[in-house]
């Protein structure tokens, strides 16, 4: 398959992830959307690396995956602490700060 196919696939996944972030009410659900977006990045990177024969993309992917994990960990911790304080993880209820 040509590079374009992979890129398009990644773009689609990216868009779907974004859609998830925009529409899910549950904070955890939003996190999942972010995961999808980062996943798309990885597909892109690997595809580019494969088609250019360059190692950088692979390394980049490795780092991205690790960073993602760190992000998710922190994100989930925030969700938990929010839940503890606010008794909800519905993002729509989190509007103490506005204006």
């Amino acid at each position: 398959m040509p590079l374009g196919a992979y890129l398009t696939l990644a773009a689609l996944v990216f868009a779907i992830g974004l859609f998830g972030v925009l529409t899910r009410r549950n904070a955890v659900g939003i996190l999942l959307g972010i995961e999808l977006m980062l996943n798309a990045v990885n597909i892109n990177l690997v595809a580019f690396a494969r088609f250019s024969g360059d190692l950088g993309g692979i390394l980049f992917t490795l780092f991205t995956i690790a960073i993602t994990v760190a992000e998710v960990a922190v994100g989930l911790a925030i969700v938990i602490v929010i839940f503890r304080v606010r008794r909800t993880v519905e993002a729509d209820h989190l509007d103490l700060l506005r204006g």
Partner: protein, 617 residues
């Protein structure tokens, strides 16, 4: 033509100014009435001496030599833009003598007249007087239009200050402002005119301008407008129709002030202006004709109003307006010398009239002629006044007869028939209304008897007698000249008799109505009801001006003020409020919902994508 010494002229000019400075700046002097009056009068005496000396030592002028001496006033790159100096020709020397002399007389008279005034403010009075003398002398000595305008406005200022001398009186305060405004209205034309003349000729200097006029160096196209505008200045200052309305009100000032400023000197500045600039006016015959018409009309109009006026000072004021009309008409009829002569003689006897009126006012404490009378037994009071009245009415051998006759002759010669008729009627009316005053104020029985032996300070009557003597002397002198054959060439021979007849008729009518009682004034008034009604109301001209002021000016200003506050500034406030509101609106984008923030990021990214796409192409 004769020219005087510039140095002496400067002395004449400088003396009253020094006196003014002294009185204005040295507070103890100002607060002490005696010292102030002494300084002012002493200086004035010196000025009179200097003025006469100036005239005495004048020498003949060589052909094409300028009678003016000037110094730079407003510098500019290529030589001064405006100059100041003195122009000492026959006219200005004569005016100097008139001004200083009458000023001296009035100042002396005032000392007695204003004896009851608070001492503290007399210093102010004399300071104003000195300033006035300085300004008036500056005006007559001015060698340039600009300098003339400067002093022109300064005499206006003095007039304003002196009319409002009793500023506690609302009417005085109002009259002062009115005088200033109305004359200023004319001065707008004056200043515009001289500026335009400057633009056309490149100079303000009379002598230069005359030379240019002589050599056709002035652009003919703009001249009528320019000269008309300059004439407007004279209209305001010399109380020509329709700007005459300030002069009767100006009588709110102390009577000596009226005598000096609003009769003898300042108001004649307009006439002097036309005379001074006559070589330029000669270029514009249409404007001259207009001047003649307006002058004659003013003369007649004022005379009719004088006939129905009961306030002695206002009668004299209308008479002044009327006589100024005469002088202007003379100038308009290309007989400026006649007008100028009338100016000089009128200056003396009109001052006398006012000062005489001041005496009766002093005696009766009223201005109303119907509440006076019974002074027939005191000739030292009425003789000077009656002499002056006769002079004004035009009875020989008093000076008014000769100068007035010369004016009539000049107008007749210029084939200005209707103005001539108007002036003739005015001559008749003048005799009538003046003798109306004489009969009522001095010789009526009854009302005023209780005051009949009121003490009149000798200083006041002394001044009056001096002026009367001067007037008679002038008249005799003129009569001598006439008999010696200096009669105006070309004027019809019947004119003196006609003129005398008019005066006689007026006197007789007045006698018949107010002395003899043969004709009931009330019946005459009924017969001429519409005229009487209109004349008593000043023909509504005052009302028109008041309406324009209130309705047009103040009303419009209120509209502008409102527009500025609520529209111009309002728009600014709208912009400010919009900015604040925009901030508030935008702030609401910040909903506080986490995902809306992500929308922001996504939208922002999208916009950047689109922008980059668009840039790539």
């Amino acid at each position: 033509m004769r020219v005087g010494s510039a140095a002496v002229a400067l002395v004449v000019l400088g003396l009253p100014f020094a006196s003014f400075l002294l009185l204005a700046l040295v507070r103890p002097l100002r607060r002490s009435a005696v010292a102030a009056a002494t300084v002012s009068i002493t200086v004035m005496v010196a000025a009179v001496v200097a003025a006469f000396w100036l005239s005495w030592r004048a020498r003949p002028l060589e052909l094409l030599q300028s009678p003016s001496t000037t110094w730079s006033w407003i510098p500019a790159d290529g030589g001064p833009m405006a100059t100041v100096g003195v122009m000492v020709d026959g006219k200005s020397m004569a005016m100097c003598m008139l001004v200083t002399f009458v000023s001296l007389m009035v100042q002396l008279y005032s000392w007695a007249y204003l004896h009851d005034e608070p001492r503290r403010s007399l210093g102010r009075y004399y300071a104003y007087h000195s300033l006035f003398a300085f300004s008036m002398l500056g005006l007559v000595l001015a060698p340039t239009f600009l300098q003339m305008f400067v002093f022109w406005e300064l005499v206006g200022l003095c007039s304003y200050l002196l009319i409002g001398y009793w500023y506690d009186r609302p009417s005085a305060a109002r009259a002062a402002v009115k005088a200033f405004w109305i004359t200023k209205l004319g001065d707008l034309g004056f200043v515009a005119g001289i500026v335009m003349l400057w633009a056309a000729a490149g100079t303000f200097d009379f002598w230069e301008l005359f030379r240019l006029a002589h050599t056709n160096g002035l652009p003919p196209a703009g001249m009528p407008l320019i000269m008309f505008l300059i004439y407007l200045g004279a209209v305001g200052k010399s109380a020509q129709f329709p700007l005459h309305i300030w002069l009767p009100d100006a009588m709110e000032g102390p009577t000596p002030v009226s005598a000096l400023i609003h009769a003898a000197t300042m108001v004649t500045a307009g006439v002097f202006l036309v005379n001074r600039a006559f070589p330029l006016f000669m270029l514009v015959p249409d404007v001259l004709t207009l001047i003649a018409w307006v002058g004659a009309f003013t003369a007649l109009l004022a005379a009719t109003m004088a006939c129905v006026e009961n306030d002695i000072k206002r009668v004299l004021a209308y008479s002044t307006v009327s006589q100024l009309g005469y002088m202007m008409a003379a100038a308009g009829a290309s007989a400026p010398d006649a007008g100028f002569a009338h100016l000089l003689t009128h200056g003396v006897f009109k001052a006398l009239l006012f000062l005489g009126a001041g005496i009766v006012i002093h005696v009766f404490h009223t201005n109303d002629v119907f509440r006076m009378g019974g002074l027939g037994g005191q000739p030292w009071l009425w003789v000077p006044f009656v002499l002056a009245t006769l002079a004004l009415a035009g009875v020989p051998p008093l000076p008014g007869f000769f100068t007035k006759e010369a004016i009539l002759g000049g107008v007749f010669e210029a084939h200005l028939t209707i103005p001539f008729v108007m002036l003739a009627v005015t001559a008749f009316l003048t005799a009538f209304y003046m003798f109306r005053v004489v009969f009522l104020a001095f010789f009526a029985r009854g009302l005023g008897d209780s005051h009949a032996h009121h003490h009149v300070p000798p200083l006041m009557s002394g001044v009056c007698w001096t002026l009367a003597a001067l007037s008679v002397a002038t008249g005799v002198n003129l009569a001598r000249q006439m008999l010696a054959g200096a009669h105006h060439e070309g004027a019809p021979a019947w004119l003196p008799a006609f003129s005398l007849g008019l005066a006689g008729a007026g006197i007789v009518l007045a006698w018949a109505m107010y002395r003899r009682g043969a004709i009931d004034p009330a019946r005459v008034a009924t017969v001429l009801a519409p005229l009487d009604w209109a004349a008593r109301r000043g023909y509504g001209i005052d009302a028109v001006f008041a309406g324009l002021y209130r309705g047009a000016l103040l009303g419009f200003s209120r509209v502008v003020g409102w527009v500025d506050r609520y529209v111009v500034d309002g728009l600014l406030n709208v912009f400010s409020a919009w900015t604040l509101r925009a901030g508030d609106r935008l702030r609401r984008l910040q909903t506080g919902l986490p995902q809306d923030y992500v929308y922001g990021v996504a939208l922002g990214a999208l916009i950047l994508f689109v922008l980059a796409q668009w840039r790539m192409k």
